[in-house]
């Protein structure tokens, strides 16, 4: 099953849950006391959103699911370290992002560069029809540019401009001051724009 942007907006509201920090904390507390179903509720509350964020970095859906499971396992192992005075969502996403980046680095592969190779084409959720091809080409070009950004800028750009997290949420996820995140975001956008333009200038075929 594939879902699109409307669902994404709904999930975003749900997952970042302005709504539910207290009940998150309650579930965490119950889970700490050995209530598996309480942790199950947390998993179900956040899994779709986490999967989507991971799929920004790892396109293979099966691999993304493995990483999401790994992330939730670590969350479970570290429930002791969760500070209930803070929101659970960013803490959980931080672990998820770290698990993902950890994986990418350990593999020492340029996953970003593989996202659109033939090997992965058959894994696209939607096999593109003819009229979707132009759009997919645009996605490829955009990703080829994003891939060229240094990681610390790339993450912020993806989380803000593609995933729609606010800068304060990204600050909580990456454990940085919001001012730092804003600075990186500005740098990321300026660099993206510069590379994008240069790429147009040197011909669309030029990529990393």
């Amino acid at each position: 099953m594939a879902i699109g942007q409307q669902q994404r907006a709904a999930d975003m509201a749900e997952a970042l849950d302005e709504g539910n920090p207290s009940s998150d904390a309650r579930l965490v507390e119950d889970a700490r006391l050995g209530d598996h179903e309480a942790f199950g509720q947390l998993v179900r509350r956040y899994e779709r959103r986490l999967l989507r964020v991971i799929q920004r970095f790892v396109r293979d859906p099966d691999l993304a699911e493995d990483l999401a499971q790994e992330a939730f396992l670590r969350v479970y192992e570290r429930l002791d370290q969760y500070d209930a005075s803070r929101r659970f969502g960013p803490w959980m996403f931080r672990i998820g992002v770290n698990v993902t980046l950890d994986y990418l680095r350990r593999k020492k592969r340029r996953i970003w560069g593989m996202l659109f190779t033939d090997a992965h084409r058959d894994r696209w959720p939607d096999p593109p029809a003819a009229d979707q091809r132009a759009e997919r080409d645009l996605q490829q070009e955009v990703w080829q540019v994003i891939e060229r950004l240094p990681e610390k800028y790339r993450i912020v750009l993806v989380l803000r401009d593609l995933e729609g997290f606010s800068t304060s949420e990204i600050a909580a996820i990456l454990n940085r001051r919001e001012a730092t995140i804003r600075w990186r975001l500005a740098e990321a956008r300026n660099r993206f724009q510069e590379i994008w333009e240069r790429r147009l200038g040197t011909g669309a075929g030029a990529n990393a």
Binding site: G4, F39, L51, E65, R74, R78, D126, T180, R182, L185
Partner: protein, 189 residues
């Protein structure tokens, strides 16, 4: 405001991420008399549109819930013998000895007033009696050491995710103890 600062602020402005009204105002003044920055802003807006449209109809793969499989793994994790298998039986012995020594000290200290058993120090968290053991935000440093040790040494990288960083101050770095491959994880500024 110079052009360099203006281009940082313009890049934030384009996504409505420039919070201070004062900065927006001085940015407006600069851009009003700087054709270069005006052109730059136009290019940035074009870039935002490219990003948005490239993502507009992106779809995501969503299978069933992760929970059924995950709950099995968690159950196995909880049922696994923990430190015992990894330390050939020595750690429990040492830990029990240490816990007993601690109990002696604790009982000694609490003896006159404490009605209930202080032995919760040596009991896994999942067996603790009630939520009052975890009041609010404190982390109970030094208590319940059995469980975190057993769980956290499962071969994962260990991050100090909440390393005593108060709100609104210089954030603590994300410290990574292992493996070495992750030492620069989110730490390079």
């Amino acid at each position: 405001m110079n052009c360099r600062q203006a281009r940082i602020d313009l890049a934030l402005c384009v996504g409505e991420d420039l919070p201070e009204a004062a900065r927006r105002e001085s940015l407006r003044q600069h851009v009003a008399q700087c054709p270069g920055c005006r052109a730059h802003y136009k290019r940035l807006r074009g870039m935002q549109r490219v990003l948005e449209s490239s993502d507009r109809n992106r779809t995501y793969d969503v299978g069933g819930s992760l929970w059924p499989q995950l709950s099995n793994r968690i159950r196995r994790l909880d049922e696994s013998p923990g430190p015992a298998s990894r330390f050939n039986g020595w750690l429990p012995f040492v830990a029990v000895t240490a816990a007993c020594a601690m109990l002696v000290v604790v009982m000694d200290l609490r003896a006159p007033s404490s009605g209930h058993s202080p032995s919760t120090e040596a009991i896994p968290r999942s067996m603790l009696p009630g939520p009052s053991m975890f009041p609010g935000t404190s982390q109970h440093q030094g208590q319940n050491t059995f469980l975190p040790v057993g769980r956290s040494q499962q071969g994962h990288a260990m991050y100090d995710l909440e390393s005593a960083e108060p709100h609104g101050t210089q954030p603590a770095q994300l410290k990574v103890h292992e493996p070495p491959a992750t030492t620069d994880q989110l730490t390079n500024d």
